[in-house]
């Protein structure tokens, strides 16, 4: 019986990839486990294995094809004597996404390095990039369309070219080219002295980085995800954040801790936490959480040049989203300045990082219903640009905050508290928070969806504060 071989997914968030190479040709005999093809995404490569014995009856997608959707039939394996063509006309068995979880490492780190990042709704609704360029970038600036992943890499590379004291360290940042490919190419350009693969030892290398910063170097410490920074949080807070104060200003700690923060997709509670409030709570730190490629680049460059410890919270789902970024190596975005991502007059929506995707999507839907929302992208969580928020609330008289984090003691809670204290008389409705649910992240697809905010919930919250619907 003929079996369709389907384009596999490297992770739940992968939508499409490139069929890089056929290892087998039509007519070749294959056995279960034989590698028949190689596929590629912008993040990783993997081998496609046969799960049935037989012969490659037909190759449906030629080598070199880009943008092959997951689950598209790419070949047909037929039993001896069977014709390839017939199988397309009947419901043959399908060879589902059967591939090594992490072909590049041979497994083992699959849970840490869940792969690829593009999600349909995130990509299609990633309007943030469009207004970004218009609002802040001087007229006439040449723009290039790059992903946030490339923007982050370019920011590090440019700063490393500019200052020999800048180096990057972390798990898999060098030879593997980054668990999420953020450090791709850096080893080649800068060598092992400045692109340092560490053992899996977060407390140790975070502390080592802080010590190097005390000595005047400018480390960029990559956490594979911020979930693992929990092992190192003592050094981020007790050693990095407090020492400038405790030394009466003598010791500087110019270090950047960066990596993906928040929920990826289907990786369970220990790999899906959003830490904004944890770090935003701490005096002595600066905390940044960009939502666009341009902000990611400009803010990471500013963070690397900053003399203070900076926690730079990225988001896996946003890595693959492209946006216009000013060309050249002098694009800096000031730390501590929020941005009006969409001007409006009826209600203020405040968010950051991936929450901006929901916020802007909601604003679009609301526009169709006659509600003109002003959307503020905080970009920096500490110091918090509360003045921009307050000015907006004084105009719209309503506010909804949007975040993926847990609701208790969240950044949204802080914004609401400050708005109530400082703009109480301007409010026409109770400030409202849209957040993740107050539960550890569930694994099941339906439950995970329920645990996270979405644009519909933002729309609902906005209508409530506008007393509509």
């Amino acid at each position: 019986m003929a079996t369709q071989v389907l384009m596999p997914a490297l992770s739940p968030t992968m939508e499409e990839g490139k069929l890089a190479k056929w290892v087998k040709a039509e007519g070749d005999e294959v056995r279960s486990g034989d590698v028949i093809a190689e596929i590629e995404t912008d993040k990783a490569t993997m081998e496609v294995e046969a799960v049935d014995e037989g012969k490659i009856g037909k190759i449906l997608i030629p080598a070199g094809t880009e943008g092959v959707r997951v689950n598209t039939p790419i070949a047909i394996i037929v039993a001896d004597g069977e014709e390839a063509g017939a199988s397309l006309n009947r419901a043959g068995k399908t060879n589902g996404a059967h591939a090594p979880a992490d072909a590049a490492t041979g497994g083992g780190e699959a849970a840490r390095a869940s792969v690829d990042v593009r999600v349909k709704d995130a990509r299609e609704d990633a309007a943030p990039a469009a207004w970004d360029a218009a609002s802040e970038i001087p007229e006439g600036t040449e723009l290039v369309q790059i992903t946030m992943r490339e923007a982050l890499r370019d920011a590090m590379a440019e700063e490393m070219r500019r200052d020999d004291d800048v180096f990057v360290m972390g798990e898999e940042v060098a030879e593997y080219q980054g668990a999420y490919k953020i450090t791709q190419g850096l080893l080649d350009e800068f060598g092992a002295r400045r692109v340092v693969d560490t053992p899996i030892t977060e407390a140790g290398f975070a502390g080592l980085g802080v010590g190097a910063a005390f000595a005047g170097l400018r480390p960029i410490v990559e956490f594979m995800t911020f979930n693992f920074a929990m092992q190192a949080i003592d050094h981020i807070i007790n050693s990095a954040a407090k020492t400038h104060y405790m030394s009466g200003g003598q010791i500087d700690c110019p270090i950047v801790f960066r990596g993906p923060n928040g929920a990826a997709a289907r990786v369970g509670a220990q790999h899906s936490q959003e830490y904004s409030a944890w770090y935003a709570h701490v005096p002595g730190l600066k905390v940044i959480a960009p939502s666009t490629a341009a902000d990611a680049k400009g803010l990471l460059k500013a963070a690397i040049r900053d003399p203070n410890p900076v926690v730079f919270l990225e988001n896996e789902i946003l890595y693959g989203i492209a946006g216009p970024v000013p060309k050249g190596d002098d694009w800096l975005v000031p730390i501590g300045k929020a941005k009006i991502a969409r001007p409006g007059k009826d209600v203020t929506i405040v968010s950051w990082s991936r929450g901006m995707v929901y916020a802007l999507d909601a604003a679009k839907q609301l526009e169709a219903e006659g509600i003109d929302a002003e959307v503020i992208d905080l970009r920096t969580l500490r110091p918090l640009d509360i003045d921009t928020v307050l000015a907006s609330v004084r105009k719209t008289n309503r506010i909804v905050t949007v975040e993926e984090a847990w609701p208790v003691c969240s950044v949204g809670s802080e914004i609401v508290a400050q708005v109530v204290a400082k703009a109480f008389d301007y409010l026409d409705a109770p400030p409202t928070k849209v957040s993740g649910e107050d539960v550890p992240m569930p694994y099941a697809a339906n439950l995970e969806k329920l645990a996270l905010p979405n644009a519909d919930r933002v729309v609902e919250a906005v209508k409530a504060v506008c007393y509509k619907g």
Partner: protein, 335 residues
């Protein structure tokens, strides 16, 4: 315990003699720490010093001997029993004492306290309050030395209590993996707060704790400044030559409690007295100086007098210097 200490002396037998100048230097430095700490204890009793105050009395030979092995540019970092380390690094006793009393003339402008002082000028990187955290930090100082190729060595001190922290071994691993110029000096004073090393450590020979990383280690009589200096020279030369880290376990003893309010129920008075009377680091140098006629009682009295004057001046300053201006509350949070 004295046998333990003697077993820990140089494998070559008696450590090499010090020159007259070295003996006198060691005597003076150790006495400065002793008198400084006694005064700090007094000021604590008077309510002038708040919070925690961990005295170094009894352990003086460790930092004094080690500091005799380093050169300009080498860094020192330790935990919270740090006053002695600062004094041997050449930090001003007035600035240290004024920090203990929380005054504006303190090294951290009164905002750090006993456990949190620094001097970039003197290459002293703290002063850290979290047990064991200074070990990765000191390894990072060594990383910076190697990155810059400046030939400097990081002396990273920790105690027998910290020796059981996981991050110490994370640092060991990277230090040996990358051949970082760091000397780990574990000051084994037998007690992590009130818990004796025998009740806390499965392997009490802390010099061997680097074995699984292939880091060499030596046990040293940390009460004998000669033994400390001799071992320190070997370890520092090892690290400076690019061979990577080295562990020195200094067998030492603190006479005072862990901090100021210490019930002292975990060890006998006899144990403390025996160490004090038979193996005191300062008394040993003093006796050698007199016996060898390198110094007279009068010479040493003159040193005592000079030290007392320095310490009294520090104490006076620390009590008369004003508290920080209230505007200091919000300075130095970020730069």
């Amino acid at each position: 315990m004295l046998d333990d200490l003697r077993n820990g002396t140089s494998p070559k037998g008696h450590p090499p003699e010090l020159s007259r100048d070295e003996e006198l230097h060691a005597y003076r430095e150790m006495l400065l720490i002793r008198r400084f700490e006694e005064k700090a204890g007094q000021l604590y009793g008077m309510g002038q010093i708040g919070g925690f105050c961990h005295l170094y009395i009894g352990q003086e030979a460790v930092v004094v001997g080690m500091q005799m092995t380093v050169r300009e540019g080498d860094q020192v970092i330790t935990a919270y029993r740090d006053h002695g380390h600062m004094l041997v690094c050449g930090m001003d006793p007035k600035g240290v004492m004024a920090e203990l009393t929380g005054r504006r003339g303190g090294y951290s402008r009164g905002k750090g306290g006993s456990m949190h002082m620094f001097s970039v000028e003197k290459n002293f990187y703290g002063g850290h309050g979290i047990v064991g955290a200074q070990v990765p930090l000191g390894t990072g100082l060594a990383f910076a030395n190697k990155y810059r190729g400046n030939g400097n060595v990081s002396l990273t001190y920790y105690g027998d209590g910290a020796a059981n922290q996981g991050q110490v071994y994370e640092a060991f691993n990277m230090a040996e993996l990358w051949k970082l110029p760091v000397v780990y000096v574990v000051e084994n004073n037998k007690y992590g707060m009130g818990t004796s090393i025998n009740r806390a450590s499965a392997l009490t020979n802390l010099s061997q704790r680097g074995a699984s990383f292939n880091i060499p280690g030596r046990q040293v009589d940390g009460m004998d400044v000669r033994a400390v200096k001799e071992a320190g020279e070997e370890a520092v030369a090892w690290a400076r030559s690019g061979k990577g880290p080295y562990i020195l376990e200094m067998l030492t003893y603190r006479y005072r409690g862990h901090s100021m309010s210490d019930p002292a129920k975990y060890r006998s008075k006899e144990e403390v007295d025996k160490m004090r009377h038979e193996h005191d680091p300062i008394e040993m140098v003093r006796q050698r100086l007199i016996a060898s006629r390198r110094a007279t009682e009068d010479d040493l009295k003159a040193v005592d007098k000079e030290i007392r004057a320095i310490v009294n001046e520090a104490a006076d300053f620390a009590q008369t210097d004003p508290e920080p201006d209230v505007t200091e509350l919000y300075t130095n949070v970020v730069r």
